[in-house]
């Protein structure tokens, strides 16, 4: 099974003889723009940004500046200095959670969160006497009723941390409705699965802190994440060190972006993000969503037509990210994914680092088989996948 992704109008690179359907973990193949921008940086720029006034350093800084500006406007942020680059979505969430939540604060989250939220807040619960409430989402599809958040609010609720799009069920939560009920609490959003697949508007939804990775639907290389911090929100940095600025001072700079970006950044990765953003601008979000939804429709309809398969989620209801979880009656998710692996098909089975979400939809402790197409997946790939699942079910 050769991946046919390269036959798309926008080319992407994959030399493997496999069908990759694990884009919720990281997108593959990467578009040619990603490689082009990365290649340009490695071959022709190469400097350490903001470290020295020589051309290689200045040009590297220009690449980061442009990526920061374009990423800020992509999510309708106001000030690009408030868009901070990190290593991944997890680091962004750790900066938001560990940097903003203080001793004895109360935090509200949901029953659909990833461990990148649950683990830092559990740490705060154990070490800083932070209290945590989790709003129960629907067992049917993981949807959150904002009234459940409202009911959990306390006087000392510092933040509400919401998974925008589930990496297990694809469910997308309505941020605007949630923000409207949380009073003065900060809205911290985990947008790792939605960014690049669903439009995000920081101003419209009044998001206080937006955390995401850039190697999924923004098509950067792995090792790049970002966080946008609204003006007036001031988390304590996770690390301190050289910034190329205020070098005479032993005090860490208070101004952004330097406050949150010490040490050499992943400039090759950030250059590749510029390539990903260039591709998204070229195609347009509307077209990306339309294609991904049509693939999901084909996938969900096909799976539901196979006897003995349970599909989780409710894809007819509204926006969903291109992630589908299912199980085969009488088989463990790991058996199904092994059967697919043997046919060269890459999907992910198990708990997907989100045990709470699996408890919510009733698939704990074994989890589910998760299939996540991307923009470079085509309809033929989905049909190949469905045929393989049908064979495995019959065995």
């Amino acid at each position: 099974m050769k991946t046919t992704a390269g036959k798309n109008q926008e080319s992407a690179h994959s030399s493997h003889d496999m069908l990759y359907l694990d884009n919720a973990a990281t997108s593959h193949p990467k578009p040619s723009q990603t490689l082009r921008f990365f290649n340009h940086f490695i071959r022709s720029v190469g400097g350490n940004p903001g470290r020295g006034g020589h051309p290689a350093s200045v040009e590297a800084a220009r690449i980061i500046f442009e990526a920061r500006e374009r990423l800020t406007s992509f999510v309708n942020g106001i000030d690009s200095e408030r868009m901070i680059f990190t290593r991944n979505g997890t680091e962004s969430l750790n900066l938001a959670i560990l940097g903003l939540i203080r001793e004895s604060d109360h935090v509200i989250t949901t029953s659909m969160e990833h461990n990148s939220v649950m683990r830092p807040i559990t740490f705060l619960q154990n070490e800083k006497k932070v209290t945590v409430s989790a709003a129960q989402c629907s067992a049917r599809d993981g949807t959150l009723d904002p009234m459940r958040i409202k009911a959990l609010l306390r006087n000392n609720t510092r933040a509400v941390i919401i998974n925008h799009g589930s990496n297990v069920s694809g469910t997308v939560q309505n941020l605007k409705e949630i923000k409207s009920v949380i009073r003065d609490a900060l809205l911290i959003v985990d947008a790792c699965q939605t960014i690049g697949s669903i439009p995000i508007d920081i101003e419209r939804d009044q998001i206080d802190v937006l955390c995401f990775s850039c190697h999924k639907s923004l098509y950067a290389l792995q090792g790049v994440g970002a966080i946008y911090i609204r003006k007036g929100v001031d988390p304590r940095p996770l690390q301190f060190g050289g910034t190329g600025s205020n070098s005479e001072s032993l005090e860490h700079p208070a101004f952004l972006p330097d406050r949150y970006e010490s040490g050499t950044p992943n400039t090759p990765g950030i250059a590749s993000l510029l390539g990903g953003l260039t591709l998204i601008e070229k195609i347009g979000m509307e077209r990306i969503m339309k294609k991904e939804r049509s693939l999901i429709h084909l996938l969900v309809t096909g799976l539901r037509n196979i006897d003995g398969i349970v599909v989780y989620g409710h894809y007819e209801k509204g926006p969903a990210v291109p992630v589908v979880s299912f199980n085969v009656t009488g088989k463990l998710p790991s058996e199904v994914s092994y059967g697919l692996s043997r046919r060269g098909i890459c999907v992910r089975a198990g708990l997907h680092c989100a045990p709470q979400a699996h408890k919510t939809i009733g698939t704990f402790p074994h989890g589910s088989v998760r299939v996540s197409p991307g923009y470079f997946t085509n309809r033929r790939d989905i049909i190949t996948f469905l045929e393989a699942v049908e064979n495995i079910v019959r065995q």
């Binding site: 940004p49 903001g50 470290r51 020295g52 006034g53 020589h54 200045v58 800084a61 220009r62 500046f65 920061r68 690009s80 200095e81 910034t243 190329g244 600025s245 205020n246 070098s247 005479e248 700079p253 101004f255 952004l256 972006p257 330097d258």
Partner: protein
Amino acid sequence: MSDNREHSYYLIYKSIHDVLKAEKKLKERGFNFELIPIPRNLSSDCGSCIRLYDQIEDVTNCADVINMEKCFFFDGKDFKPFMRQ
């Protein structure tokens, strides 16, 4: 706009982000300037600053490019701190 290479202004910013933001705005408005390494006698930072060959007043009238930390006038021999009005 003048191009007096003897007389120039050195615009110092707190971060490379601000330098590049100013560069973008100055470029859009067609100012005559270049990005140069910060002279050691003006700052201990190892980064870049903007050397402007136009009149500083023309720049300081643009509200969104004057977010500089310090400014010096260079008369071809000496640097003099330039105070914004």
